[in-house]
């Protein structure tokens, strides 16, 4: 057993008493030493490990993070390679499927169509596969736009302070007081013509106050920090203090939040489509719309039309949530052992 050599860990005590060949005692001191070694390893910051590399190390040890990462990776791969994975064109209506379409019947699984037909005689599997593209696109874009606007507003509020901070924060208070989905529905309804962009913007705007508040909080903490005071004592200009000294240090929490927001954004976008407030283009495969259009109407006839898209939404949202939560735990200094 090697002695802990880091400065953080105290070397295991080695008195002459402990070296006495008393078997029970030896086992005890061995255990004690093992515990000290473990302690030293966990508290020591091994040379050259940055915050993110350190966080990554802890992520790898967390099974929830691995499950989440696998789900996300599969989802992204399916979205990218949709044309290769899907057996058919998601828009095309097949005679083999439309032949069996009646008000009381929708074709089930058959040769060449493993999941059967949707309500218009299109291949359900292909539409599910292509739906991942839409979900990824809307989710990522809505999160990015929300993140960008939120970071700008939060940085301004936190750096400038005073009445501007007050006004911005009262606005975010009002937005946070409304249920997110209700606010999103209102925003979509305000748009004259709905498209996938109205959904993206609505979901983005709903998430702006969360980012803004979060960043403002960490900016305020940064403003009081010693290294910002030290930078001011060097005569560094206000602009570079905000952009170089405060913002990069305040972003950690926001990055974690963005991962969690991805799952929320996916669910919110799907909800809007489910309610018929999404993209009016019926050709475009979208999980929320599939669930709303056919899933509900034909639930008595073929419940799978609802089950599959719902399952897809849940699994993907779960993946992002698992990964986001794990990342929060990994980065949060309070959770550092």
């Amino acid at each position: 057993m090697t002695e802990p050599t880091t400065q953080a860990g105290a070397p295991a005590p080695r008195s002459s008493k402990e070296q006495a060949s008393d078997a029970g005692r030896n086992r005890l001191s061995d255990r004690k030493k093992a515990r000290l070694d473990e302690l030293a390893q966990s508290t020591a910051a091994p040379g050259g490990v940055s915050l993110f590399r350190d966080a990554f190390r802890r992520l790898r040890r967390n099974p929830a993070a691995i499950v989440g990462a696998i789900i996300i990776a599969l989802f992204v791969l399916v979205a990218i390679f949709a044309p290769l994975i899907a057996p058919h064109d998601p828009v095309q209506r097949f005679d083999a499927l439309t032949d069996q379409l009646t008000p009381n019947n929708i074709a089930g699984p058959m040769d060449g169509f493993p999941l059967g037909s949707d309500e218009l005689g299109r291949d359900l599997l292909s539409r599910l596969v292509y739906g991942s593209r839409q979900t990824l696109f809307v989710g990522v874009l809505a999160t990015l736009i929300g993140l960008t606007i939120g970071v700008v507003l939060g940085a301004i509020a936190g750096a400038v302070g005073g009445w501007l901070d007050n006004i911005l924060m009262r606005i975010t208070d009002v937005m946070l007081a409304l249920p997110a989905l209700l606010l999103a529905i209102t925003l979509v309804a305000l748009a004259s013509k709905s498209s996938q962009w109205t959904v993206i913007m609505a979901v983005a705007i709903v998430n702006v106050p969360i980012f803004a508040r979060l960043l403002r909080g960490s900016m305020l903490a940064q403003r009081e920090s010693d290294h910002v005071l030290a930078a001011r004592a060097l005569g560094v200009k206000q602009r570079s203090i905000v952009l170089r000294h405060m913002l990069p240090n305040a972003m950690t929490a926001v990055i974690v939040q963005a991962t969690l927001t991805l799952s929320v954004a996916i669910i919110e976008a799907a909800s809007l489509s489910f309610l018929g407030l999404g993209d009016p283009d019926r050709d475009r495969a979208e999980w929320g719309a599939m669930l709303g259009d056919a899933g509900v109407r034909y639930f008595e006839v073929r419940p799978e039309l609802a089950y599959y898209p719902a399952l897809a939404i849940i699994v993907v949202a779960l993946g992002f949530t698992l990964f986001g939560e794990a990342m929060r735990e990994a980065i949060d200094p309070k959770n550092r052992r």
């Binding site: 010693d226 030290a230 004592a233 200009k237 170089r244 000294h245």
Partner: protein, 328 residues
């Protein structure tokens, strides 16, 4: 003319609905070019607030600064914020207590040293980094080329404080304010850092204001010492005078409370009784009176004035420790 002439500097913290608090109360002292001046006192005596007021780094709201801070004859308190910002880091440098939290954790050391050169001397990044390497070398950081690209958490505490000294001295300021620069370091590193500071200020002719509660630091470094209590200067003396015969009961008590190697075994350490919480406001008398062994009636009738002593210092006390006792 003195390099820095602080006259009647007062800082009052004021919050709505609360009694204003006099953190610094008419403090005056001067710093000559190349001289090292100590500001000594316990926690809460106003030494850090004094330094922040000189630097113009107190928060904009919630406090009132009055008096004059003449640097080279110009009143720093009256400068426009932009002009003051140009002077910070160029004319006046500052070192803080905790070297880890005073460095930006996400920027490499080299860039942090270079930043101040770019800001004040108009160097481009490449030139600034080259000079940064020489500066790190000058403060005794081994392998400076490699340190340039390392982050604060990757180097040791002593090296961080050396890096901070390099940053503070990068533009060769004429005045350096060191706010408890060794408090967060262990004793062996403390000695190294103090030796380095002394050597650097001696070489460059930089004046130094040393803020500390550690009398050992004062003994090794300062030419003149100002002892602060409750926001006021209570005693000022040249270093040797102060250590040879401290006249103020507070200073005397402080020096007596330092453990000595030659004291008999089993002897209890001396302590000043009470705590800062027992202070009375200066308007009602001497703030130290409730803790003082030499207290007389006059101490509770009003603040004693700061008066020159025979040995060339100043003293604010009605009943100072007698010469014989002080010299013991």
């Amino acid at each position: 003319m003195s390099l820095l002439d602080v006259r009647d500097l007062s800082v009052v913290f004021q919050r709505r609905g609360e009694r204003p608090f006099n953190a610094v109360d008419k403090v005056s002292f001067t710093v000559e070019p190349g001289q090292t001046v100590g500001l000594v006192g316990e926690s809460g005596c106003g030494k850090s607030v004094t330094s922040l007021a000189i630097m113009g780094l107190l928060p904009k709201r919630g406090n009132k600064v009055s008096g004059e801070v003449l640097f080279d004859g110009a009143d720093l308190l009256k400068l426009r914020p932009g002009d003051m910002r140009d002077r910070r880091g160029r004319d006046i440098g500052m070192i803080f207590q905790d070297p880890l939290s005073s460095l930006n954790p996400v920027i490499p050391i080299g860039v942090q040293v270079a930043e101040v050169l770019e800001r004040h001397q108009g160097r481009d990044r490449k030139q600034a980094l080259r000079e940064a390497r020489d500066l790190l070398d000058a403060v005794g950081i081994p392998d400076p080329q490699r340190r340039l690209s390392e982050y604060p958490h990757q180097i040791s505490g002593g090296m961080r404080q050396r890096a901070l000294i390099a940053i503070a001295l990068a533009c060769k300021p004429r005045l350096l304010i060191a706010d408890e620069p060794t408090t967060a370091l262990d004793v062996t590193i403390q000695a190294q850092i103090l030796t380095l500071l002394k050597q650097l200020v001696d070489e460059s002719g930089t004046a130094l204001i040393m803020i500390t509660h550690d009398l050992g630091v004062v003994a090794g470094l300062c030419d003149t010492v100002n002892v602060l209590y409750g926001g006021k200067v209570i005693e000022r003396a040249r270093r040797h005078e102060l250590f040879a015969h401290a006249r103020h009961p507070y200073t005397h008590g402080l020096l007596n409370s330092v453990p000595r190697l030659d004291s008999p075994r089993g002897e209890r350490l001396h302590a000043i009784r009470g705590s800062v919480a027992d202070n009375i406001p200066w308007t009602e008398g001497c703030a130290f009176a409730p803790r003082c062994d030499n207290v007389v009636d006059a101490c509770l009738e009003g603040p004693p004035p700061l008066e020159p002593t025979a040995t060339g210092g100043d003293l604010r006390c009605n009943n100072p420790v007698s010469e014989e006792v002080a010299a013991r």
